[in-house]
């Protein structure tokens, strides 16, 4: 790739884009941010490929590390802004005018709807986590990285990753449980009104 082999770069990009994109998507909650970050990461790789040291870890870890820095920079920069909900729901909107695809009902629509809502609530719970908890959940639980890899990427001890993950999962359970409790309260009210 460094010798200017376009084919090699394309193969590399196709192999590693998913890791970078998913990490950015899970960390930011926005697909547009994830796209920007992915592009930025590979541009950095293009321009400063010599900075990668194979002795310090795999290339995917290196790229995720760049993505992490980029996301932290963006989150710091946009801290004062309040995001509109449109971006969070952008997946609901038809893309490229492909309206028919969105209107086609496949399989069990109610089941799909419930499943999508569950996934969305988990996504929101992950996004609500503080950054240092969110990144360990994304790396270890969602990207299935080992604790050692995550520790190397985050620049901390393996024990720190473990404890952060433990706390993060506890927070997630708490948030999801409270969400379920609210829904169940709503159901009980509905049932009571039906029986009444």
């Amino acid at each position: 790739m460094m010798a200017g082999d376009e084919e090699a770069f394309t193969r590399l990009y196709r192999r590693l884009r998913g890791v970078v994109y998913r990490f950015a998507r899970q960390m930011s909650g926005s697909s547009s941010v994830a796209e920007d970050v992915t592009q930025e990461v590979f541009l950095i790789l293009l321009r400063k490929a010599e900075l990668y040291d194979p002795g310090r870890g795999s290339l995917s870890t290196y790229l995720v590390q760049i993505a992490r820095n980029e996301i932290l920079r963006r989150l710091g920069r946009d801290r004062d802004y309040v995001s509109l909900t449109a971006d969070a729901r952008e997946g609901d909107l038809p893309q490229d005018g492909n309206l028919d695809e969105n209107l086609i009902v496949r399989g069990n629509p109610l089941g799909n709807l419930v499943r999508n809502e569950e996934i969305e609530s988990v996504r929101q719970a992950v996004l609500a986590l503080p950054l240092h908890y969110r990144e360990v959940v994304v790396l270890c639980d969602l990207e299935e990285m080992s604790y050692t890899e995550a520790a190397a990427l985050l620049g901390c001890a393996v024990g720190t990753v473990r404890s952060r993950l433990h706390r993060a999962r506890a927070l997630l359970k708490q948030r999801l449980r409270s969400g379920e409790a609210t829904e169940q309260d709503g159901l009980q009210v509905n049932r009571a009104s039906c029986l009444g």
Partner: protein, 247 residues
């Protein structure tokens, strides 16, 4: 986790209700996270990203051939040269005011102030205006600018100036007359077009700062309720043509 430890843990969970509940919750959370991971994994990355990156790659491949990258040493020299160029540019911009500050002597300042500010003693405060230099607007501008022109200093004076606080030159001169700073003239539009000026007078007035707003002249908004001194250039037909602020 080895098989023995796992078996021991599962055995404990069978007997301990709180731990069993905890395990159920953990399993549910893991399942939810796997669902989220799977849902994200199927999200498609737009093809335009790849196109944009390939374009960048081709440009990157062409760029070194056209212009080889500078070595770190060359880069350092380029930085130094750029810094020097910036410094020279900054000095050339600040040169006149710097020379003025360094070279102007208190005596000459007071003399110049006397010649131009004698009127200040006779100018009543308030809104009333005092015409001066009838029909000689350009000489008046020249006189005021002369204040700012650098004058040669003796070594002794320069030493005194060094010892004096920097702000002193802005406060007052030896005879106690205040020194003034003026802005450039801002044109006052009469209608849509600028009428040629065939002569006029400069009138010094004290006006409310809020009156500067319709004229589009920038000023400190926090002092909008205060008044400010200004020179108004009034043409022979009696219309205000330009205005400058006096500090």
């Amino acid at each position: 986790m080895d098989a023995v430890a796992r078996e021991r843990g599962l055995e404990h969970v069978r007997r301990c209700a709180p731990c069993a509940l905890l395990m159920v919750e953990e399993r549910a959370l893991s399942r939810d996270l796997r669902s989220l991971s799977a849902a994200t994994a199927v999200e498609e990355i737009p093809a335009r990203l790849e196109t944009a990156l390939l374009t960048a790659f081709r440009q990157q491949a062409v760029a070194p051939a056209a212009a080889p990258a500078a070595s770190p040493g060359t880069r350092r020299w380029l930085l130094v040269a750029a810094a020097l160029a910036l410094l020279t540019f900054g000095l050339s911009l600040a040169g006149p005011s710097l020379a003025r500050w360094v070279a102007s002597s208190p005596e000459k300042k007071s003399a110049a102030t006397d010649s131009t500010h004698g009127r200040d003693a006779t100018t009543p405060a308030g809104v009333s205006a005092t015409p001066e230099n009838s029909g000689q607007a350009p000489p008046q501008i020249a006189t005021v600018r002369q204040l700012a022109r650098p004058t040669p200093d003796s070594t002794k004076e320069r030493r005194q100036k060094r010892l004096a606080p920097a702000s002193a030159s802005r406060q007052s001169t030896s005879d106690g007359a205040p020194r003034e700073f003026v802005t450039q003239f801002f044109p006052v539009m009469q209608g849509d077009e600028l009428i040629p000026l065939e002569g006029g007078q400069i009138v010094r007035v004290r006006m409310s700062r809020s009156n500067l707003i319709p004229l589009g002249i920038p000023f400190n908004q926090e002092r909008v309720s205060e008044t400010i001194q200004a020179d108004v250039l009034v043409s022979n037909d009696g219309l205000a043509r330009a205005i400058r602020l006096v500090y």
